[in-house]
């Protein structure tokens, strides 16, 4: 009855058998690529995501270079040349209610709009991931306390929470960013917690514990690399919401204050002009919309690029 093992052991003779040999040869032809290598490879083959990414990149470049490339002074108005239409010889995209050049203001406005839209998600990504990974990895009471606290913030619809916080804190860029960060931290933390809880029972985490690594080292080296992808995708999806909310705060007069150009704020000040020059009045919204939808499409592309079965 000992034949099966004994026989195959005798046959083995120390050389690689069929299974290992086959895999070894196949492996020699496929270049080794890490997870992110695969994701990038798939992402560049997604035309929609690439177009959205290119648009975002273009807006970022304009935002960075804005102070040097605006065709006119974005702050200098003229009472005589107010609300020129789109296509005007001097003002290509018209002029606003104070006679300032729209295209210059839109270009410069991209800076603050992007800044107050993206910064809260970035900060919340760091803080929320930290809280969520800690709660998910440690589990037990730490998890219960952290996650129940986070549930409280989920009891507020995010628009309401953002407006309540920045309403209480008062207007200003800093307060707007703080409020939006508070909105996104719980959302990211919840995702991070659930992804981390999903992997904390894996054998490789046990193996890492057995090697004598501290909890912090395991979270940093073993857990982080496996959970950061899904959290990141979720966060990129939030940028779209954040852009809309951030400009919304400025639209209400809670974010950026005049005379700084910001798309939401421009939309607000141009509301009075909708009967005179509706197209110009709607332009800042187009910018918000285009950037927001680009982030959404890019995030969708990233998500499907990351759905790799390994």
């Amino acid at each position: 009855m000992t034949q099966p093992v004994a026989a195959s052991v005798a046959l083995d003779g120390g050389v690689l058998a069929a299974d290992d040999r086959a895999h070894g040869q196949e492996a020699a032809f496929v270049p080794s690529r890490g997870f992110w290598g695969h994701v990038g490879h798939r992402l560049v083959r997604d035309p929609v995501a690439m177009a959205a990414g290119a648009l975002i990149l273009a807006v970022v470049v304009v935002a960075i270079l804005a102070p040097w490339i605006t065709p006119m002074d974005p702050y200098k108005g003229s009472m005589l040349r107010r609300l020129k239409p789109v296509g005007d010889a001097t003002y290509w995209l018209g002029s606003d209610e104070l006679g300032r050049d729209m295209i210059s203001r839109l270009m410069l406005g991209s800076r603050l709009s992007l800044f107050i839209g993206v910064t809260p998600v970035l900060i919340a990504f760091v803080i929320g991931s930290g809280i969520g990974i800690l709660a998910g990895y440690v589990g037990g009471w730490t998890n219960t306390v952290l996650m129940r606290t986070i549930d409280v913030f989920f009891a507020f619809p995010s628009v309401l929470l953002a407006i309540a916080l920045s309403g209480a804190l008062g207007a200003g860029i800093f307060n707007a960013i703080v409020s939006l960060t508070c909105v996104f931290v719980p959302q990211i933390a919840r995702v991070a917690e659930s992804v981390t809880t999903g992997i904390r029972k894996r054998d490789y985490i046990d193996a890492a514990k057995l090697s004598g690594a501290s909890a912090l080292t395991i979270m940093r080296v073993q857990v982080l690399g496996n959970v950061i992808g899904p959290i990141f995708v979720y966060a990129t999806g939030l940028i779209s919401v954040s852009m809309i909310l951030a400009s919304g705060l400025s639209f209400l007069g809670l974010g950026v204050r005049p005379p700084e150009p910001e798309w939401g704020l421009m939309l607000n000040t141009l509301r009075t002009a909708i009967y005179v020059n509706p197209v110009v009045a709607a332009l800042p919204g187009v910018c918000i919309f285009v950037v927001s939808i680009s982030f959404n499409l890019f995030s969708d592309g990233l998500r499907s690029a990351m759905e790799i079965r390994q």
């Binding site: 913030f153 619809p157 209480a168 008062g170 809309i244 939401g264 509301r271 800042p284 919204g285 939808i293």
Partner: protein, 317 residues
């Protein structure tokens, strides 16, 4: 079922408590003295102290919280600093207007969302499917306050079909169910419905596609059930989740209505919040947010319990 409801209730209680703490602390987040908005600049120290005592701001925070909570539990949300009227009455009137707007928007969103979702789910990868998914991306990406402006530009400023702002012809207060008032409701409600339309369409599409790909549908067809019967099965299986999403969307719209209400000058909670923020009327701000958040918590609870009751697959332990 009763046991499940009680369990959910038990779970919601600490959340509601947390919400009340957050709302209470909102006032204390605010920079400066909450009374500075109403006091004249040359007020004497004695006047300031008297006012502080009158509003209870002179006591330690936990005591203030307990007193506040006690009043809230008795339906007293305090007095508006700006108008001097009870907050509860102001919020109550505004909530009715907001609820009408949000409910109509949700109804529109649900109708079109399920319609698009069903078509897309039944004909995956068709042109209709692509249109539906484009619509849902549009719904969540569009700044709705801007969409509201565009609606006003098109239908009021340019075409002159519908009134741009307000809730009724008299320019004031309350919405009433008559034809005149209905015209005022159309633009804000349609604008607001774009978000739930997109989200419901996306969810229903995924649900329908999932149900249709399951084995039991194959089995039903094999047993000779006609397409109408299959459709009925799909509806029955998709309904609980779709209704739950609808309920949650109502909550989100009610809480997130401030931007759209501002665009359309709709006399609801959003409008009230806006006023409270800019007049630094903190009791009013606190009261409105508390009511909206509690409404959202209650709605969540209701949706959860109803979904469990409707869906035979969820265990009611």
């Amino acid at each position: 079922m009763l046991l499940y409801t009680l369990k959910r209730l038990l779970y919601v209680t600490p959340v509601a408590f947390g919400v009340s703490v957050v709302c209470f602390l909102l006032v204390h987040l605010a920079p400066g003295d909450p009374l500075s908005a109403v006091l004249p600049a040359d007020a004497t120290q004695q006047t300031i102290d008297e006012m502080r005592a009158a509003y209870g701001f002179d006591k330690p925070l936990p005591v203030q919280y307990l007193i506040w909570l006690w009043h809230v539990l008795h339906g007293d949300l305090g007095t508006s600093i700006a108008t001097g009227r009870p907050v509860a009455a102001e919020v109550g009137r505004a909530v009715v207007n907001s609820l009408i707007l949000a409910a109509v928007a949700t109804a529109i969103g649900f109708t079109f969302g399920t319609l698009f979702g069903f078509v897309a789910g039944y004909h995956r990868n068709s042109a209709a499917d692509r249109a539906a998914s484009a619509l849902s991306v549009f719904g969540v990406s569009v700044p709705h306050y801007w969409l509201g402006m565009v609606m006003v530009i098109v239908f009021s400023a340019t075409l002159g079909w519908l009134p741009p702002t307000g809730a009724g012809p008299d320019g004031s207060g309350n919405w009433r169910p008559d034809l005149d008032h209905l015209r005022y409701l159309i633009l804000p409600a349609v604008t607001m419905s774009v978000i739930p339309t997109g989200i419901i369409a996306r969810t229903v599409r995924a649900l329908v596609a999932d149900i249709l790909s399951q084995d039991f549908v194959e089995a039903l067809r094999a047993k000779g059930m006609d397409e109408r019967g299959v459709f009925r099965h799909v509806v029955r299986n998709a309904a609980p989740t779709a209704l739950a999403i609808m309920g949650l969307q109502l909550g989100y719209l009610l809480g997130g209505s401030i931007l759209i209400e501002t665009v359309f000058a709709w006399p609801g909670t959003g409008f009230l919040l806006n006023a409270a923020i800019f007049q630094r009327d903190l009791p009013l701000l606190q009261g409105s947010i508390l009511v909206l958040a509690m409404f959202f918590v209650a709605l969540n609870l209701l949706v959860d319990v109803m979904q469990t009751a409707l869906d035979p697959r969820i265990e009611r332990a």
